[in-house]
Amino acid sequence: MKKLIIVLCATVSCMMATAQEYNKAALVVQEQIVAYNARNLDAFAALYSDDIIIYKASGEVSLQGKAQLKELFGTFFKNNPDLYCYIEDRIVLGDTVIDHEKIQLQKGRPFMEFIAMYKVKDGKIAEVHFLKSPY
């Protein structure tokens, strides 16, 4: 019985350690890419805060608010059924995630290069700054 308790304690503390090893911001951003690739608008939008702001590389606001995000990405996902994004490289620092992303709109087309910086607040993506985009 004692042994079992020790094993249980060890297992639980091991699980806690594993959970702490994940950066929460990186986890949210990763889920966001999965939803993006599945073109699952509900899952995608659920990872963004209601007052999400996305900035272009020029610094201009690209979109603001979850309603606008849903509208724009809804159309984008519908029009690009082959859409695919993979992470080339990633920097994680606290609540900030910088992704070097390669995105393909259609099979066989060249991958476009993006760098996006995500700021996560309260478990949701609150700001996205594109540092590099092809347009």
């Binding site: 900035y55 920097i91 910088i98 070097h100 290069e113 760098i115 910086m117």
Partner: protein
Amino acid sequence: MKKLIVLCFILGASVSLRAQATTDIKIIGQQQMEAYNSRNIEAYAALFSDDVKVYDFPQKLRYEGKDKLIARYGKFFKDTPELYSFIEKRIFTDNKIIDQEKVIYKKGGTPKEFVVMYVVKNNLIAEVYYIKR
């Protein structure tokens, strides 16, 4: 046929140009790190354009001009002889370097973490953005 050859040539040249740009920027990144860690102000300053602009991301200008950069880093390098920057991670594009750096000011000191973006124009660093400092 001639047209095809010309097209192939142009395509090949543009691909190799792009590859060259990526190589160049990786060399600039390497030189920047080496000059910083050897605290060589001349070698360091030579990598920046005369009108370099240094910002807190996204748009808060901290200072402008190579002379100001030399004044700041010259003093910083002199005052901090044990300075060392470790590149934790580096992202390259054709004209940008994004670094995750851990900087130690004194041997055995706690590293300070930075995320910095360098924008390269004409083979010189023209803009610096402190994303985290």
